[in-house]
């Protein structure tokens, strides 16, 4: 008699940490905070075995500062935090955008504001991820909805950080972070690992050269190029400039390198969308309920479908317009008072829209979603 293979259960936070090591992270700087701490604990135990170094810093500002420093000398670097710590990191997220230093930040979202509800989930940091640091910039933020996807998307987060030389934020929530579920990843599901594009031409190196790719090639500090990295607005050589043409070129380049590459960056999943007349747009743990809601609605003869956004920023407005414009109804459930809903409402243009708020610091019940859709359709005389 052969024993049946036991399913391997894994926690979301651990999947995130494992993904980071798989992606080649060799430096972690962090500070304990619920509900993300398991990521730091795993990195402390496993990074030394994987040839990397773990540091527990004095606060979250130091954590992000240290990972930017390690990335400047060529290491894939990572930190993990939650709401209050994410707030403290905001200034230096802008530094990494400005100086184009690849870093990955996992923010396991808890309910806020302030200390809020440290052990309970929310998606209240979605707009903070986009706009929390001062100044015009673009950003990449990813919201996985399962343990396995957390692993895969963490690897992809590193890939995107390296490819576009920018900070990438993994927006998990407490439910995904602490969820334990089956974890079975085959080798062909693991994304190819990408390294930032390097040049060996240290003699003629122009650190922030404007090229068609919009992403400058990299030489780590300490490898013979002896250049300058700054958070000041800089010219192609990396030195402070206030010349209006250089300033404008710089700002557009760091913005466009992300906003004009949405097709490459943005990921999503379609569920029952082929003949859908009602669309639910969702992301993160709430998308699990949304899938169930779609099935419930289908059982009640409502042709419902789901667009599950994996990439939240840059916002995939083209996709949302193409798939939602002109439908009977678009519903967006979120574990907040309506954050990404604003973007969806903007993108769908004159299509009936309802933002379903979740402020109970818990998942939104699929039945609540389905009932809301049916009552809205009844109000409009659509059923």
């Amino acid at each position: 008699m052969t024993k049946a293979k036991k399913p391997k259960l894994l926690q979301g936070n651990i999947a995130c940490a494992m993904g980071a090591i798989k992606a080649g992270a060799t430096f972690f700087g962090g500070y304990p905070i619920t509900p993300s701490t398991e990521i730091a604990e795993y990195m402390a135990a496993q990074l030394p075995k994987a040839g990397g170094r773990f540091m527990q810093m004095e606060d979250e500002i130091a954590s992000i500062g240290a990972i930017i420093g390690a990335s400047c000398v060529g290491h894939k670097s990572f930190t993990a935090t939650s709401g209050p710590g994410f707030s403290l990191m905001q200034e230096l997220i802008g530094y990494a955008c400005n100086a184009e230093i690849p870093i990955v930040i996992a923010n396991v979202m808890r309910s806020g504001p302030s200390t809020g509800l440290p052990t309970l989930p929310a998606a209240q940091d979605v707009m903070q991820a986009r706009w929390g640091t001062h100044g015009d910039h673009s950003i990449i933020a990813i919201s996985p909805y399962s343990v396995k996807e957390t692993y895969i998307q963490t690897i992809k987060a590193f890939n995107l950080a390296e490819k576009y030389r920018t900070p990438v934020i993994i927006l998990m929530d407490e439910k995904i972070g602490h969820l334990r579920e089956g974890f079975d990843v085959s080798d062909d599901e693991i994304p190819e690992i990408i390294q930032r594009k390097r040049t060996l031409d240290k003699e003629n190196y122009i650190p922030y050269e404007n090229t068609p790719s919009m992403v400058p090639e990299f030489i780590p500090l300490g490898c013979g190029a002896r250049y300058h990295i700054t958070g000041l607005t800089h010219n192609e050589k990396g030195f402070y400039t206030q010349k209006s043409d250089e300033v404008e070129k710089f700002l557009f380049r760091i913005y466009d390198k992300i906003e004009k590459n949405k097709e490459d960056i943005c990921e999503y999943e379609m569920f029952e969308m082929d003949d859908a007349e009602v669309v639910i747009v969702s992301y993160g743990s709430v998308a699990r309920s949304a899938k169930e809601a779609v099935s419930k609605l289908r059982a009640s003869n409502v042709k419902a479908g789901l667009i599950r956004l994996i990439t939240l920023w840059p916002f995939n407005d083209t996709l949302i317009y193409e798939k939602c414009h002109g439908k009977k109804l678009v519903l967006m459930p979120e574990m907040n008072l309506g954050q990404l809903s604003l973007e969806v409402e903007r993108a769908i243009k004159d299509t009936p829209f309802y933002s379903l708020h979740g402020a109970k610091a818990d998942l939104i019940d699929p039945k609540v979603m389905a009932d809301k859709v049916i009552s809205l359709l009844k109000e409009r005389g659509e059923v």
Binding site: E58, G65, G69, S71, C72
Partner: protein, 273 residues
């Protein structure tokens, strides 16, 4: 020696500092220290924060990292731990190091990471036009202390000692060559080393505090500074108002990157068992 250090500068001078500013003297002292140490320029990393002092990294021909206000040591710590081969220096101002960056400063001291930190103390926030800092002496005036500063000030030597730094020195911009020596000694020391470089800001500090100009401020340093070995033989009354300079403390303890190597060796050994 007088001109040899020029090779350590990029070709983007003149600098932005006001006439009579001490930052240029510290920058020169730093370049001479590197000359004494004979370091390969490619192996030197210089990290700064924000403020007048932080602009030094823009002029020096090394690997240079100009970070955010107060955060130079956080960036430098990450870089050094990731690449311990780099000879890592941090240059900060007094507000940069002791106010907004105070937490990073004490924790860098505590870890004993092999970084040489130079705190240029001109007693004021210069870049923003003369607000009092944690190193502005009590009673002095600043734009945000127009009736005199009522805050007590830090003593960088005592602060570093309490936090665990293993090399602590104080120099000044009048004794510029001695400052070079103190910086070079700090770099030779394995562990976290602190050099306070007492400097002058004639425009944003001196003018508010009855100094007649840059020369007057440097003369003030000349008169008020006293070497540690002489000071140790003087009574406290005679030392009132003096600025004591020299190497205050030097000790040995495990360096932080060495501790990482030790940890990694034990993890590998454990894995073999």
């Amino acid at each position: 020696m007088q001109t040899a250090y020029k090779k350590y500068f990029r070709d983007n001078l003149p600098h932005i500092w006001c006439p009579g500013c001490g930052n240029g003297i510290v920058m020169g002292a730093f370049a001479r220290a590197i000359e004494m140490l004979d370091y390969d320029k490619d192996e030197v990393l210089v990290v700064s924060g924000i403020g007048c002092s932080s602009r030094i990294t823009g002029y020096l021909d090394f690997n240079t990292l100009h970070t955010a206000h107060g955060r130079a040591l956080a960036f430098a710590t990450g870089a050094k731990v990731a690449e311990p081969r780099l000879k890592t220096f941090v240059i900060m101002g007094d507000g940069d190091a002791a106010a907004i960056g105070g937490n990073h400063f004490i924790h860098a001291c505590r870890r004993n990471i092999d970084i040489t930190t130079i705190i240029i103390n001109n007693n004021i926030y210069g870049m923003t036009g003369g607000q009092f800092s944690p190193l502005t002496p009590k009673g002095r005036k600043a734009t945000t202390a127009p009736y005199g500063n009522i805050d007590r000030s830090f003593d960088i030597v005592d602060l570093s000692k309490g936090a665990g730094a293993t090399y602590i020195a104080r120099g000044d911009v009048f004794h510029a060559f001695r400052l070079s020596y103190l910086i070079a000694e700090a770099a030779r020391h394995k562990g976290f080393s602190v050099v306070e470089a007492v400097s002058t800001c004639p425009i944003s500090y001196g003018r508010h505090n009855k100094f007649k100009g840059a020369a007057d401020m440097v003369n003030y340093l000349k008169k008020r500074t006293i070497a540690l070995n002489r000071a140790s033989r003087m009574n406290p009354e005679a030392l009132e108002g003096k600025i004591i300079t020299g190497i205050f403390y030097e000790s040995e303890d495990e360096e932080y990157c060495d501790a990482f190597e030790r940890l990694e060796a034990s993890v590998k050994k454990g894995a073999r068992k």
